[in-house]
């Protein structure tokens, strides 16, 4: 039994903080949200710092169960960052909704720890545990506003469908185990590469089932139906977190699993899987963007747009090359900021029972709330992929990867759907900047500490693209591909 304690520090710290100390605080200290909030904020900062510190230390540890360093640590930092921004946005939001309970922060950090486990997994079962840890936290968080029927509906719906997807996941894992004789992802990769596969068709079925299960988590067609309802019903801050960090975690797993299942070279399954993923990717972005046009509710519109972004991200998987995986990692990083920022704005403007959530409510926002309107405009342009904002650079990298792997048609579909998406992103900007306010006087919004998340995500959306080369060199040094 070899345990690499130093490399595992980020995981160990977050679990000790969560499992031992966090629970103890909650058991012995009476309802004190301020303390818990500060405590978990510190936890996430510490975890992220340790992840950066140990990034260069790459190893496989815990008897081959988890990998530490590199790729996983990059995602650790991303998840902790998203968690921090969500916590900052959540506190004023929940206070206003009258639903600030200690448990929220515990659940959030527990979701982060699940995501980290997903990124660190080197064993399919560990991956499963990570996914479930994340998902179960999400189910509860989605239904967190327990007096709001839409929130409860969201939680229940997510839970039922998510449980179904977990079934696919385990079933797929068992097939892959049957075909390759191992649950260790690196061993699976080695066996597939060496051609030591017992039942190739079993492996194919297993791989497709994994596409289904992970496709559900990223809300890819045809498993995207839950996303609009859940994203709309869940509290805005929860949606912000689920639709960004949750998607990033699922894509981290996608990369881990499919870089093993789809090795380079002449392996027969690779082109078939690529084609399956390409079709899924193409339909996902078209469905997401086209349906988003018809929405009148901002949260629902952003939900469909997040479906579309899953489609773009799948392009990198279709390419199944280093360039493609880099593109996914870069795009998902910028996506976390753009999408999270947009939902933070929604959360700040939202009032009580689903008020101020219609696109029409945003009319004339640039007059009433110039800062919020400006930030929202930045997020919309960034999501639409207009340079020099962050979304463009990610899209460019994805296009390079896809065309390089011979998927020109997919790139053209992506171009077409970007065009469609520009229409509704612009639609919101038109409302905010070109239309006069339809309502009377609004109470002004006080963002509070949510303003920090807003500023960070807006700044990142603007400047991230300028640091593309630095990020790419971080990827190649940390990831070592």
């Amino acid at each position: 039994m070899n345990i690499d304690l130093f490399g595992s520090l980020p995981l160990i710290v977050i679990w000790l903080a969560l499992g031992a100390v966090g629970i103890a605080i909650q058991a012995f200290v009476r309802e004190n949200t301020r303390l818990i909030f500060g405590y978990y904020l510190a936890t996430l900062v510490a975890t992220a710092s340790l992840a950066i510190l140990t990034a260069g230390h790459k190893a496989v540890t815990f008897n081959g169960m988890i990998t530490v360093g590199g790729f996983a640590n990059y995602f650790d930092v991303l998840f902790c960052g998203a968690g921090l921004m969500t916590m900052l946005a959540a506190r004023p939001y929940l206070q206003r909704e009258g639903a600030e309970l200690d448990e929220f922060y515990t659940l959030l950090v527990s979701a982060v720890s699940g995501m980290m486990l997903m990124a660190h997994a080197n064993n399919l079962l560990v991956l499963f545990v990570g996914i479930e840890l994340m998902s179960i936290s999400f189910y509860v968080m989605a239904g967190f506003l327990r007096t709001n029927i839409r929130s409860i509906e969201a939680g229940l719906k997510y839970f039922l469908l998510g449980a179904f997807a977990s079934g696919f996941l385990v079933y797929g894992m068992s097939m892959i185990y049957g075909a390759t004789g191992s649950l260790q992802i690196d061993v699976i990769a080695k066996n597939i590469h060496a051609g030591a596969v017992n039942f190739p068709s079993l492996l194919a079925i297993g791989a497709v089932l994994m596409v289904v299960a992970l496709g559900f988590k990223v809300a890819a067609f045809p498993f995207h139906q839950w996303a609009p309802d859940v994203y709309e019903g869940a509290p805005s801050v929860v949606t912000a977190f689920m639709s960004t960090a949750g998607k990033a975690a699922a894509f981290a797993s996608f990369i881990t699993v499919f870089s093993a299942l789809m090795p380079h070279g002449s392996y027969a399954l690779t082109p078939k899987l690529q084609n399956v993923l390409a079709v899924v990717s193409a339909i996902t972005m078209l469905i997401g963007n086209i349906t988003a046009i018809a929405q009148t509710n901002v949260k629902r519109m952003l939900a469909y747009s997040s479906v579309a972004h899953a489609g773009y991200l799948l392009m990198g998987l279709v390419a199944s090359s280093t360039a493609g995986y880099f593109a996914i990692i870069f795009y998902v990083t910028s996506y976390v900021f753009m999408q999270l920022g947009a939902f933070v704005v929604v959360g700040i403007l939202e009032r009580g029972n689903e008020h101020h959530l219609q696109i029409d409510d945003y009319a004339g926002l640039s007059k009433r709330e110039p800062v919020l309107a400006f930030a929202m405009a930045v997020f919309m342009f960034a999501l639409a992929g207009i340079p020099p904002l962050a979304g463009f650079f990610g899209k460019y990298l994805l296009f390079v990867a896809a065309i390089e792997s011979g998927f020109l048609w997919l790139t053209l579909v992506a171009v077409l759907s970007s065009l469609v998406s520009a229409y509704f992103y612009l639609g919101l900007i038109v409302k905010m900047y070109f239309s006069e306010s339809t309502h009377g006087a609004h109470e002004s919004s006080r963002p509070g500490i949510a303003g920090i998340s807003l500023v960070v995500s807006a700044a990142a959306s603007i400047v991230l693209g300028l640091f593309t080369s630095q990020l790419l060199s971080i990827y190649s040094s940390w990831l070592g591909w």
Partner: protein, 524 residues
């Protein structure tokens, strides 16, 4: 020195935009002055490039080359040649005038307006200077956002429709171009030179790209540029955008934005795809000729002065496209000249329309008549603008149009004089619709009581128009210096397109070619 001037011309507007962000929004005078001073400084600094520029060289000058994203070989590569420099200068000249023209009409959200205008200038200048496809695309799209807001916030009644139409039309083209830029970079990668966005490197491989791929890439670039020009039948966004945009918006749109398209055609379509350019020269020229005649005929029946001028742009830019795709030295040079000329005379026309609109809040030709009597100073300048646009010898419009027609006439690639003959009718129609409009607005009896007491030009309006009028006269009498500037670069482009046509366009990717710094050098 030249390099510093180039960088200053690019970045001073950006600095100005940032500076304005720090001024309180109520201090509108300070904001206006800052913007105007910054744009004037930009213009003066841009002039410093002129004496440093060596017109006898075809190479890119004042080169800046800073790495940006090494993994994609995208860099901060800047420079100008004889084709880009006049357009950079034009941009720098038009901006202060456009800002001056915004002083009175723009009263709401002043701070945002001037920030966006300076950002717009940053983007436009960058497009003309970029020598890197990635950087070019970033600047190209950067223009979209400010222009979208300028039309959408400060525009007329149907501004929202016009703004969205402008944005989506342009985005269709530019996304296609993005695919082509990526693909072109990968062609370099597949040819063994590594992925790149460097225009010099791309030029050395692009003519070896398989012809069917080259055709696709050619059109992906061309559609993007032809929408911007705009060439018939892709022009329908233009009248909407022009009519709804504020005067300064129209000035920028007509003065500079349309030239981004024609500049792109020369730089990328001719510069990167010589075989495909020769192959499709006839087809595009047919549409250019249709555009010339169609634009002129539609302009003739307009009752709205601004729409008339907008359609005249469709017609005039048709000449530019025809000149470019005649692929002769005369034609392309005429096109460059015509780009500058159109950038001088059409903004003047829009400013004149703006002057009238400020006083009467109508643009219907029928509402005017006999204005000459009440506004004599205005009448003189309006007449110069009108005659420059008509192409009267002695004013700037004449030489450019004449050269493009000459180029089309003797073009070996077009191989027929019918293009020139039919296009020449566009010159006659231009005289008809502009003179007729001028006559109905300025002459006749001033029988509308509302027109009896119109103020003549105030000092500000006067100084918007006079520099442009002086330039129109100077370029008409002395086109030599400007032509001298662009001649060598134009010859290089023309030789580059004409020489591969002597061989059949079925070349596959082969050995690197054109080892010089400037691949055009290998085809003197």
């Amino acid at each position: 020195m030249g390099v510093s001037a180039l960088l200053a011309t690019l970045f001073v507007p950006l600095l100005g935009a940032i500076a304005i962000l720090f001024i309180h929004r109520d201090q509108t005078t300070a904001i206006k002055r800052t913007a105007l001073v910054m744009s004037c400084i930009t213009f003066l600094l841009s002039l410093l490039m002129v004496p440093e520029f060596d017109p006898s060289s075809t190479a890119l000058q004042f080169v800046v080359n800073q790495p940006w994203i090494p993994a994609l070989d995208a860099g901060f590569r800047l420079g100008v040649d004889g084709i880009a420099l006049p357009l950079v200068l034009l941009t720098a000249l038009i901006m202060p005038i456009a800002l001056l023209a915004s002083y009175e009409p723009i009263s709401k959200s002043v701070k945002e307006y001037y920030t966006l205008m300076l950002l717009l200038q940053f983007g436009m200048t960058g497009v003309f200077m970029a020598w890197d496809t990635f950087l070019f695309y970033v600047f190209w799209e950067l223009i979209l956002i400010p222009m979208y807001f300028i039309i959408g916030i400060w525009g007329g009644k149907d501004r929202i429709y016009a703004a969205i139409k402008f944005f989506l039309y342009t985005l269709v083209g530019s996304l296609l171009m993005l695919v082509a830029i990526v693909w072109l970079g990968l062609e370099s990668h597949w040819a063994g030179h590594g992925f790149t966005a460097d225009l010099t490197k791309l030029q050395s491989i692009s003519s070896h790209v398989q012809f069917n791929v080259q055709q696709f890439l050619f059109w992906a670039f061309a559609i993007s540029f032809l929408i911007k020009v705009p060439l018939f039948p892709l022009h329908t966004w233009l009248p909407d955008a022009h009519v709804q945009a504020p005067t300064a918006g129209s000035v920028i749109l007509a003065g500079v934005l349309l030239k981004l398209g024609t500049y792109g055609l020369i730089r990328f379509n001719l510069g990167l795809f010589p075989q495909a350019s020769a192959h499709y020269a006839e087809l595009i020229s047919v549409f250019a000729v249709i555009g010339i005649v169609y634009g002129a005929l539609v302009a003739m029946v307009q009752t709205d002065i601004k729409k008339l001028v907008a359609y005249s742009s469709v017609s005039h830019l048709g000449f530019v496209v025809l000149g470019i795709f005649s692929v002769t030295t005369e034609g392309v040079q005429g096109a460059v000249l015509q780009m500058v000329n159109h950038g001088v005379s059409t903004p003047m026309l829009f400013l004149c329309v703006g002057v009238l609109y400020e006083r009467r809040h109508t643009r219907e030709i029928a509402d005017y008549g006999g204005i000459t009597k009440v506004m004599p100073k205005f009448a003189v300048l309006f007449a110069i603008a009108m005659f420059a646009s008509v192409g009267l010898p002695g004013l700037n419009g004449f030489v450019g149009e004449f050269l493009t027609l000459l180029g089309a006439f003797k073009s070996p690639i077009l191989g027929s004089w019918t293009y020139a003959i039919i296009s020449a009718s566009g010159v006659i129609f231009a005289a008809v619709y502009l003179l007729w409009m001028f006559q109905r607005v300025m002459f006749g009896t001033n029988d509308n009581p509302e027109n009896h007491h119109l103020r003549d030009l105030n000092r500000r309006e006067y100084w918007q128009l006079v520099p442009l009028a002086a330039l129109a006269i100077w370029l008409g009498v002395q086109p030599g210096p400007l032509m001298n500037f662009s001649e060598k670069s134009v010859r290089a482009v023309v030789a580059w397109v004409q020489s591969p046509t002597t061989t059949a366009p079925t070349i596959t990717i082969g050995a690197p070619h054109g080892a010089g710094h400037h691949s055009m050098n290998s085809h003197p």
